[in-house]
């Protein structure tokens, strides 16, 4: 667990530096994609519901976004945390089963 968190911490730190210093030169439609946000969404989507690493990714990712942007510390943490909780508990519990059920009924037809 500690090893996983350490790896995630280092990865997120490199990702934010990559985002603000490297990928900042390649904007799409005048927007720099937030790699941290994309990573948080995918990490929470593919992680098991019982694991809490996704929450850590949201908190630490949000913290790094706050540090390297102009916002107050806590702004991105809150957004990422709400997003992570939404994916973990609402999307996986209520929306994903409905999608699966629809796909299954289409297959049987």
């Amino acid at each position: 667990m500690i090893k996983k968190i350490l790896i995630l911490t280092l990865f997120l730190y490199f990702l934010i530096l990559f985002q603000i210093s490297f990928s900042a030169h390649f904007y799409i439609l005048n927007i720099i994609p937030s790699l941290i946000l994309i990573f948080t969404i995918f990490f929470n989507l593919f992680e098991k519901k019982e694991n809490v690493s996704g929450i850590f990714v949201a908190i630490f990712g949000g913290f790094l976004e706050d540090i390297f942007s102009n916002s107050v510390i806590g702004f991105h943490i809150l957004i990422f945390l709400v997003l992570s909780i939404f994916i973990k508990f609402v999307f996986k519990k209520y929306i994903q089963p409905v999608i699966r059920l629809n796909q299954h009924s289409k297959c049987t037809i």
Partner: protein
Amino acid sequence: MKLPRKPIYRILIFIIFGILIISLLNFYQKEVKNFFYKTSEPLQKTFWRAGIKLSNFFETISEIKRLKSENENLKLRNQELSAQIANLIELKKENEILREALDLGLEKEFKLSLAQITSKDTSQDFILINKGSEDGIVENMPVITSQKILVGKIYKVYKNYSRVMLITNKEVSFGGKIVGEEILGEVSGRGNLKIIFDLIPSEKEISEGDLVKTTVLGGAFPKGFLIGKIGKIQKSDVQSFYQAEISPFFDLNKLETLFIILNF
């Protein structure tokens, strides 16, 4: 004392603890941010340079065709300009003689401080430079390029770093003037690296490609610094003022160093 084991208490303790830490971090926000910027600077510089190189490489590939025709045009323009320079040298000499005669002297130069860009915000209209309060930087100081092109102003100062609000930021507006004409207007940022030249009197005519420079109006920036050139003009016969887009002269993908005017 034993910690309560029920999950709801754990979550509550976690939330209270989190809020406390965040409040504390916000209290020492400037110091915390400065610490992170300082420790990340070497890596950020490497990424920034690599980013510039790669973006220039892709730009060159996609623009080879355009560059060929532009090169032809530039060669012609170069010849024209060489002729103009020859004339100007003559005029400069004449001017110097006249200045000496009138005992005016040259204009007082600005006191400048050199800074390097370390990162760009995701919100885009802010950049971070490696000069801070320790180097005598204070808020609202104008930031320019070596070609005396206006980039923005100091927005927030940390110990070793400063955040620069670009002139394209929505919160920026100041007086501007068409170079060589007596046409004044308001230059205001529109976000996403866009600027407009607003409040141009409808009786005055401007055309695409006209250069815009700063004026003393508004007092935000010193006069005479280049901002950009006029792009698309939006004019209607009904209104007494009209506006035009400005394409800024500075290109963040090519910029590495900037100057801060210390004595404005």
